[in-house]
Amino acid sequence: MIKDKVKTGVPGLDEMLEGGLIPGRVYAVSGTSGTGKTTLAVQFLLEGVRSGERVLYIALDEPPNEVRQNMRSYGWDIGQVQVFDATPDVMSYDKTPVRDVSTERKVVYFRDLPESVRQTSERSPADMTVNTIQELVRQEMKVRKYSRIVVDSLTSLRYFYIRTSEENASLISFLRLLSDIGVTSLLTVQLPEVSRPDVEIHMARGEIRLHKWYDGRGLIRGITVEKYRGSMHDHRLRMVKISSTGVLVKNAPPEKKIRPGTDQADMSEESPEPEEIPPPPDDAESEKAPAGPPVPDTQGRNEQKPPEAGREGPGGGT
């Protein structure tokens, strides 16, 4: 058992991870869109800020001023988090030579960002590649010792910053750098609705996967630890809530399964969600009617449409 694990800052998740993440290693946070990957990653950084660490957010798809604005909706001030805006410029589609931006873009604190999005330079848009970003991380680590880095998202890095032929080699090299410099890093990975694991998932020392799906009553959110090298971990699917305080795991271990109806009232802002893994569709008949206005059920009972082929949801786990 490893002492001094790194706390994720997500209530309940550290219990699933038997105390947290092993320091100095690379982890993936995966999930389909809208599952809370960025929120979880920012919680991880804020936990570092709280314990006086240096933390870095590398923005690859969403402009960082928007990230800051979005996090205010949780009431979080992420001004103390350092940020590298690696979001790409608008492409000009003409023949002007691109510049090496590593000399022009700097790591700053979120609090020092302007309120609006950085504008592409009219005369010479910058080209950002995985090598540029890798070099920046290397330089930055020499100057200040970060203990936590978030790459949001690795999917953008794969799609937009790497030429296809060298995709996997470049990603492996980037992940290798992150573990060589001894920083605990979280990479966000966007999954399609039917998943197919990529190289970054195999390379990461652990994968925390966020899920969402519908049961008979509404949207259900879940979290699993798909893999965790070098540590015991919770193998169960746990329910997740994204509330005004961020991501939290609802029925975290070591407590026993919570029965429906015993949940605390302090997380009641969203629609009611069941505490247990919802039953398969065949059992849906026995579901209790949800709270709220009744819905007239005018449907015939005998003609339920079967699930379409190939739509069975996330398939291949690790």
Partner: protein
């Protein structure tokens, strides 16, 4: 705290605004996805119409349908949409031998108010120089248009068609990234219309957009049922339940207080079932 609330933009459908906890966050790109006939274009027009009613400038980028048809369809709804401006990038015919450069395309394709459009699908001159339409050329056309007129709302109908029209599909991902970045930097609130995404594919617009409104249209128990879900909304709480939708002579209506019928819920459940 009041000052934390950003300016919200109404979608023109009050039920959807309620699902979005007030509307879209201003100046960001959003995706509207759904199958054919699910009401995506109607939602787009309602969004633009809402802007016009508030005295804003609204632009429709028409790729799928010629503007004259859109105008007729909308007229059938009885709306006065004459003030919606339209950028016609409809590929009327294929004439690959007569391709013109992207910059020329931008110069030739002009924006007209919806009421100025002729009833013919397209004028003759246009047919003779049928340019290559791509995501890149759309970005260039939009850039030129936004330099002349400051729009606050833009609808692209649809990105799926543009992706299919592109000659080099491999470039689509970075072109889409650039287009969305361009929209961000321009400060316009945009709805990007796409087909229902292939669940096995990772469409770049879906992870780059700041939110996704999905329109569902399904035969459930021999009856057509429609509903709306908010798949993603950055920076805001949102409704996580599917809500029933109707399309009538007043356009889309969504009831944010009702649930969808049980059988429809089961169909949705089958689509997103957690199976591992």
């Amino acid at each position: 705290m009041k000052d934390m609330l950003e300016a919200r933009i109404s979608t023109g459908v009050s039920g959807i605004d309620d699902m979005l906890c007030g509307g879209l966050i201003s100046g960001r790109p959003y995706v509207v996805s759904g199958t054919t006939g699910s009401g995506k274009t109607t939602l787009g027009i309602q969004f633009l119409h809402q802007g016009v009613k508030l005295g804003e400038r609204a632009l429709l980028v028409a790729v799928d349908e010629p503007p004259s048809e859109i105008r007729e369809n909308v007229r059938a709804l009885g709306w006065d949409v004459g003030k919606i401006r339209i950028l016609d990038v409809h590929p009327a015919s294929k004439a690959f031998n007569k391709r013109v450069s992207l910059v020329e395309v931008a110069a030739q394709r002009s924006v007209g108010a919806l009421r100025e459009m002729g009833t013919g699908a397209r004028d003759e001159a246009m047919k003779q120089v049928m340019p290559d339409i791509s995501i890149q050329s759309l970005q260039l056309m939009l850039k030129q248009e936004l330099q002349e007129t400051s729009y606050s709302r833009v609808v692209v109908d649809s990105l799926t068609s543009l992706k299919k029209l592109a000659e080099n599909q491999a470039d689509n991902a970075s072109s889409i990234m650039s287009l969305l970045r361009f929209i961000s930097e321009s400060g316009v609130t945009a709805l990007i219309i796409t087909d229902l995404p292939d669940p096995a594919e990772l469409e770049p617009e879906l992870f780059l957009c700041r939110g996704e409104i999905r329109l569902h249209r399904k035969m459930v128990s021999s009856r057509l049922d429609r509903w709306v879900t908010i798949e993603k909304l950055r920076g805001s709480a949102h409704d996580t339940l599917p809500r029933p939708m109707t399309i009538s002579e007043v356009g889309l209506t969504v009831d944010p207080d009702r649930k969808i019928p049980k059988n429809s819920m089961r169909v949705l459940q089958a689509f997103t079932q957690f199976a591992r």
